[in-house]
């Protein structure tokens, strides 16, 4: 009661503070024009900021969104999950599920915003868009915007570059000297970014770029330099003669700690101790194990404009059968069209070999069709594939007005003496610039929603009765899948990861159950035990299976046929 009052107050207050009223808007196609939850999609949010948006969405749409914590991070933050579906239709827990997360690498921040944009878009569009309504009627989304909230905040608020930290916040003794994270970066000039240090030195190999003042380039081979590059901002904290050599969180990699082909440190750097020894990964794994209805998944990283599928290593080629790859190709190739500048690639072939990756576990360990998108690409600067260093300088100048640049300023360094600090801010290079963030979010979401729509969509297409005489009725049912993704990947069938689909007849006594292998030629295979509930190993995409029962009943008898598929959901049809 109190809570409802709070919501009403909140909404009233929200309206009152709004400078504009709905009659002042004209809808742009494809975007909610008058959302209940106002979010700016051109900036980034801390872990707490994300939690706040998630709470608002759940409060504004109680019939569509529920907020829960799937576990705690190393430092004790909640890993917030928005569960989104039409809770008023069907059994939500049995709908085919789609899992989305972002930010597994802490400096790859925009995945969280893109995941959150998806949650926001689905809830705000449900009432006004038939496609979204149908999607939320048939599917359930589990959206965990950040699975690395600790280090996300450290990236944003701590002394970091665009590339740090990549891991979480568990201290690791990288140099095995018995001390942990004892020599990290310092933001010496206090501008909120760790940038470069340089020192005037005639034997340095760097000079000021004559075309782009403030930018350093390498001197020609026979040219004397002006500057020595001293690396990222910092000091020698532990007095061991090295600067910044044992930094926070380094090095373990939350995306090498998953339970498929996990390998130790000497094979896979950063894999940590054993599958799911990292608490954030364990929370996700427990969640996935507890939700066997999840049939599709998407993980958001940055950067480079890639739609990646497994395998992560060559030896796992066998894990991706030709049939499974056809499914991936159908979705991935469309993705290249939906997100211009993004390329659909295979991790081990086109990127590098990895073991113990998240989406490889989804596919290999759980039979879930999954992609990783590497968000943002230099393509988006000028919508062209080939870009060079000068393009980047120009983009900064003409479109960002050098908001991403830190001008060189003198600094008196305790070890290096008089130096200069400057370069680029940590929000440049990997994270989408503000004006591109919403575009990138929408296109990536559209790709993911297509994937979600292609999860198994089961229907009982036909029920045929034939009177066999002597009180026996032959009932034949055709169960179809109207989407691309099968109820079981080939890898799943081979390893029996997900239990078979059950097709059961209830309401009439069943004496025999048959899988129909060829209906025209009347080729069948009997299931001797439990004939009322026929197990079928799979219902392929855009295909159908046929089953048959011999029932002790007369024509016109009442009974119900139910398809019960772990990843395909539950569908019933009654014959009355």
């Amino acid at each position: 009661m109190k809570f409802q009052l709070y919501i009403i107050l909140f909404l009233l207050l929200g309206t009152a503070l709004h400078a504009q009223t709905p009659d002042q808007f004209f809808k742009a196609s494809g975007t909610p024009a008058n959302p209940k939850v106002d979010v700016s999609w051109n900036r980034y949010n801390t872990a707490e900021g994300l939690a706040e948006i998630a709470k608002k969405i759940a409060a504004a749409y109680p019939e569509l969104a529920k907020l829960s914590s799937i576990g705690k991070s190393y430092q004790g933050r909640d890993l917030w999950c928005l569960t989104i579906t039409d809770f008023n239709s069907g059994d939500p827990d049995r709908k085919p599920g789609f899992y989305i997360d972002g930010n597994i690498h802490s400096n790859e921040i925009q995945g969280a915003e893109i995941a959150m944009y998806t949650a926001w878009y689905l809830t705000e569009s449900f009432d006004e868009n038939a496609f979204i309504k149908d999607l939320l009627t048939k599917r359930i989304f589990y959206i965990v915007p950040t699975i690395n909230p600790d280090a996300r905040n450290d990236y944003m608020q701590g002394a970091n570059t665009a590339h740090s930290p990549r891991s979480g916040m568990i201290p690791i003794d990288d140099d095995r000297d018995g001390e942990y994270d004892e020599d990290g970066y310092e933001d010496l000039n206090g501008d909120g970014h760790v940038s470069q240090m340089r020192r005037k030195n005639p034997y340095g190999r760097w000079i000021d770029d004559p075309r782009n003042p403030g930018r350093m380039i390498r001197a020609e081979n026979d040219e004397r330099g002006t500057y020595e590059n001293l690396g990222y901002e910092g000091i020698d904290n532990d007095g061991d003669g090295q600067v910044n050599e044992d930094r926070v969180g380094g090095y373990y990699d939350p995306n090498r700690n998953w339970g498929w082909n996990w390998q130790p440190e000497y094979i896979q750097s950063g894999s940590h101790q054993y599958p799911f020894s990292i608490p954030e990964d364990r929370a996700v794994a427990d969640f996935i194990m507890a939700h066997p209805n999840i049939a599709g998944a998407q993980s958001y990283h940055n950067s480079g404009g890639m739609i990646l599928r497994g395998p992560g290593s060559e030896e796992d080629e066998r894990v991706y059968s030709r049939g499974d790859i056809q499914v991936y190709d159908a979705i991935g190739n469309l993705g290249e069209k939906i997100i211009p500048g993004y390329r659909y690639l295979v991790i081990y072939k086109d990127l590098y070999s990895t073991y113990g990756g998240e989406i490889e576990w989804f596919h290999g360990g759980r039979g879930i069709f999954s992609f990783t998108n590497e968000l943002y690409t230099s393509y988006l600067m000028y919508n062209k594939t080939e870009t060079d260093a000068q393009d980047r300088v120009d983009f900064s100048k003409r479109l960002l007005f050098e908001d991403d640049v830190i001008a060189w300023e003198p600094y008196d360094h305790p070890v290096f003496g008089p130096i200069e600090i400057g370069g680029t801010k940590k929000n440049s290079g990997r994270a989408d610039p503000g004006f591109l963030l919403e575009t990138d979010a929408h296109r990536n979401m559209a790709f993911t929603l297509y994937h979600a729509a292609q999860m198994p969509d089961l229907v009982i297409e036909e029920i045929e009765e034939k009177d066999l005489g002597g009180g026996y009725l032959q009932v034949t049912a055709v169960v179809g899948n109207l989407a691309i993704i099968p109820t079981h990947s080939d890898h799943d069938i081979k390893n029996k990861i997900t239990r078979p689909d059950f097709i059961k007849l209830e309401g009439a006594p069943v004496v025999s159950g048959l899988r129909v292998l060829d209906r025209l030629m009347n080729r069948t295979e009997e299931q001797e035990s439990n004939p009322a509930q026929i197990s079928v190993p799979n219902i392929s995409g855009m295909d159908a299976v046929t089953v048959r029962w011999i029932v002790k009943a007369r024509p016109g008898a009442d009974y119900t046929i139910t398809v019960d598929s772990m990843k395909g959901g539950v569908v019933s049809r009654s014959k009355e």
Binding site: W262, Y274, S277
Partner: protein, 551 residues
């Protein structure tokens, strides 16, 4: 007062005799009672903790044995019961703990416990081990998690059934001309595979005792449980096998044990009493053990250490000739070496005795020749000599619902007897293995600073030298340990007095490994007089500190 070790041993033996002697394997409940009793009796040397509860609520016990700051002393892990059917492993681990504690008053053991810590896990698969003591006895390997072993969508739906009512699960033989088995020529109780090329044809099908509850054509393929602890760890882990789980280290007990071990940097080696064996015959190095970054077999330096320990084991326990190295995917012993990076040794602790034909010719005639050296035939002959009762359950006909009109007999070698010795052999095995454990512990790496000296270079300028010496027989770090993050480097710290300055050399030096009996020479150039100290340490090879006054 100087204790006489022999007298003490004698006194102690008298004391143990006074206690009711254990006459059978410890059930998990009896194990707890024994552990609690040790805890009361030897609180100065023993700390007991439970690291986790299994799905069935059984404790994973850890016995920490040592004196003083045990976490700061190099430690040996002794693990038993990694497989639920390997009961002897639990007896050996518990027995070693008891012997060490009982002898803690003697000089040799007291000194050992003052410098070396023992982390003893007597039972890592308690859920499964309980089956030996249950109303229905069978060799179980799986913990209590309800799993769908045959992955047909139904959980635990096809267990064993005790058809002959003897409280044990053995085998069934079904008279069937399509079967592949026939009685062994040397002992017709034993069934052996027919060989069509030798002109023999089968008479029996053999299956485990029970019915096909779910009528899927497979017998007893999905009974209670679960996950096998010793198939659930990360080295050569195979997913989706019955017992291996959905992913490696999936169980509360496996996670708790690994978390404990990863948090104890002082562990220098792991000894496992279980199915895996690299003590009867050591793991051998082959260049193909390393392919790129992958390591599939023991590394060269470590193979030397394994060989040394295997020879040491042979001095105390005499494994039968021809015993082979045995390893297992997902196993604990294998994990401890390949992924934990520690020296890791394994032995079943008891080997199936060999049986020799009597020399006497009239005696010989009683036995038909066992031409293919069938192990079961030899085992039954040994069992009879050893007076082992109930080693064999005679074949008895039963009515079987799945084979109407066919002759079905239940019988065969009783469960457990081929992998676990008669209990009467346990005390002697415990004694031998305790001696081995102590000898192993004495071979551990120990860092010592020796030959610490100074040379005056000029007024107020000193050259200081020292050798970092490993007085143990094992290297300070295994070759593989240097490739994982989970062992500390050997660290040498130089501490200067106020006003002194280091001109050359490092304040902190990290060494990867020093061979057994080997050393590494250090040198520093220091300006200024005063006291300096040098410390060499690593959690798993101890600590040594030396001071010098430069003046």
């Amino acid at each position: 007062m100087q204790h006489h070790p022999f007298l003490l041993t004698l006194l102690f033996s008298a004391f143990t005799l006074a206690l009711p002697a254990q006459e059978r394997y410890h059930s998990p409940d009896e194990l707890e009672t024994s552990i609690r009793q040790l805890e009361r009796q030897y609180s100065d040397w023993l700390e007991v903790s439970s690291l986790a509860k299994t799905v069935e609520g059984e404790d994973i016990w850890l016995l920490t044995i040592g004196s003083g700051p045990t976490a700061e002393h190099p430690a040996l892990v002794v693990a038993g019961g990694v497989d639920g059917s390997h009961l002897i492993g639990t007896e050996l681990a518990l027995g070693v703990a008891r012997e060490l504690l009982a002898g803690a008053g003697t000089d040799s053991i007291r000194q050992l416990l003052a410098t070396t810590t023992f982390y003893i896990f007597p039972q890592l698969a308690p859920d499964a081990a309980k089956q030996y003591f249950a109303d229905l006895r069978y060799e179980r390997h799986l913990n209590g998690r309800a799993t769908d072993n045959d992955r047909d969508g139904y959980t635990d739906e096809d267990p064993y059934e005790d058809l002959n009512g003897d409280g044990m699960i053995t085998m069934m033989r079904i008279s069937d001309p399509t079967g592949n088995y026939l009685p062994h020529p040397a002992d017709e109780r034993i069934l052996t595979k027919a060989k069509s090329d030798a002109g023999t044809s089968g008479q029996y099908r053999i299956l485990t005792e029970g019915t096909d509850n779910d009528h899927d054509g497979n017998f007893n393929e999905d009974g209670p449980g679960g996950i096998n602890f010793n198939e659930n760890l990360t080295f050569n882990y195979e997913p989706f096998q019955a017992g291996s789980g959905e992913y490696a280290v999936s169980e509360p007990e496996s996670r708790a044990v690994l978390d404990f071990l990863y948090n104890h940097w002082n562990i220098f080696a792991v000894l496992t009493f279980g199915p895996s064996d690299n003590l009867a015959a050591p793991m051998e190095y082959k260049p193909s053990n390393r392919q790129g970054r992958k390591i599939s077999g023991i590394l060269q330096e470590d193979a030397g250490v394994n060989k040394m320990l295997s020879e040491l084991y042979g001095e105390f326990v005499k494994p039968p000739k021809g015993a082979k190295t045995t390893t297992q995917g997902g196993g604990f012993m294998e994990w401890a070496y390949f992924h934990f990076g520690r020296f890791s040794f394994g032995t079943p602790g008891w080997y199936l005795p060999t049986w020799e034909m009597p020399k006497d010719s009239t005696e010989r005639e009683k036995f038909k020749p066992n031409e293919d050296k069938n192990k079961e035939v030899d085992f039954l002959r040994w069992a009879e000599d050893a007076g082992l009762e109930e080693a064999f359950v005679p074949w008895t006909a039963v009515e079987h619902p799945d084979f109407p009109g066919q002759t079905v007999e239940v019988g065969g070698i009783a469960p457990f007897v081929m992998t676990n010795p008669p209990y009467s052999e346990v005390p002697a095995l415990v004694k031998k293995h305790t001696e081995f454990v102590m000898a192993l512990a004495k071979k551990r790496p120990q860092v010592e600073l020796v030959n610490v000296r100074s040379e005056k270079v000029d007024d107020g300028l000193w050259r200081v030298k020292a050798a970092v010496y490993n007085s143990g027989d094992m290297p300070t770090t295994s070759e593989i340990g240097d490739r994982v993050k989970w062992l500390k480097s050997l660290r040498i710290d130089l501490k200067l007095a106020n006003g002194q300055e280091l001109i050359s050399g490092r304040k902190v030096t990290l060494l990867s490994s020093v061979a057994g009996g080997g050393s590494s020479e250090m040198s520093w150039l220091i300006k200024g007089n005063g006291n300096i100290s040098i410390e060499a340490s690593a959690p798993h090879c101890g600590r040594s500190e030396e001071s010098l006054n430069l003046r």
